[in-house]
């Protein structure tokens, strides 16, 4: 964990857009791979304790990534991403939507734009997410959230117990 690396998350509700900026202590090629290769994405692209499992990823314009977000209880939520534009090691865009297990998207989804640039060995990634309906996304997450929050509370309690003991 690098706390000195920039992390910025802002929401423009009026523009229905989320802006995320993050720096990584690694070269551009590696960071680009981390966002575009299935093997690396599956190692980080779901917030613990959830994990993601990419069923397939075809990184080309018009190609798709279909993956499952899996909760610790084994509950799966499917996401379909279609790559709409690719400029190698500079930019890629995709259209993101939740889907059922048969890859039928639940529209509307959101349009994601990723920009990459490197300076002195630090790679900066800018992500812009335009949501036609963020509240819809919120509702789709709801099922997950209940179990997830409950578990985090369990973890909090556990940590508190462990701290007291030491």
């Amino acid at each position: 964990m690098n706390n000195d690396l920039l992390f910025d998350f802002t929401v423009d509700k009026a523009a229905q857009t989320i802006f995320i900026t993050r720096e990584f202590n690694a070269g551009l090629s590696l960071v680009w791979d981390a966002f575009t290769k299935k093997e690396i994405l599956d190692k980080w692209a779901a917030p613990a304790p959830m994990r993601c499992e990419t069923k397939y990823l075809d990184f080309k314009v018009g190609g798709r990534r279909f993956y499952a977000m899996i909760s610790p209880g084994g509950q799966e939520r499917f996401v379909l991403q279609e790559y709409t534009s690719i400029t190698p090691k500079t930019n890629f865009k995709l259209y993101n939507s939740f889907a059922d297990k048969d890859e039928n998207p639940e529209l509307p989804g959101s349009a994601w734009d990723h920009n990459f640039n490197e300076e002195n060995g630090i790679t900066k990634v800018h992500i812009t997410i335009f949501n036609e309906s963020l509240e819809r996304m919120q509702n789709l997450h709801e099922g997950f959230k209940i179990g997830y929050t409950l578990m985090l509370t369990n973890l909090d309690n556990l940590l508190a117990t462990l701290t007291q003991q030491s």
């Binding site: 964990m1 202590n25 963020l134 509240e135």
Partner: protein
């Protein structure tokens, strides 16, 4: 399709109405006056805002006053905060992954 918060706030007039309602509850007539709009136009905006629960009507005598529903907005902000945390967690995971790949 039911309007949601994002769509409701995307309109500048509705944002202005909300800002005004955070200060005091208003009747549709007063809103129309303040924004120099027709009653029909105001009704349309009220309908959208009420549909996504950002405002709540309250009958007082023969008039309806609309109140800003701060709870709904907080709920939404809370969710956004959770989303931010999820991204932060993921990126910290990526830091770990990158350090092993280098």
């Amino acid at each position: 399709m039911k309007h949601d918060i994002f769509q409701a706030i995307a309109d500048p007039t509705r944002r202005a109405i909300l800002t005004l309602l955070t200060i005091q509850a208003l009747t549709p007539n007063v809103m129309a006056e303040k924004f120099d709009m027709s009653r029909q136009a105001v009704s349309k905006h009220i309908k959208v805002l009420q549909q996504c629960e950002l405002i709540k009507p309250e009958q007082s005598g023969r008039e309806i006053h609309y109140h800003f529903n701060a709870k709904k907005m907080q709920e939404f902000d809370h969710w956004l905060a959770q989303l931010r945390k999820n991204w932060e967690t993921q990126f910290n995971q990526l830091d770990q992954v990158l350090s092993t790949l280098k």
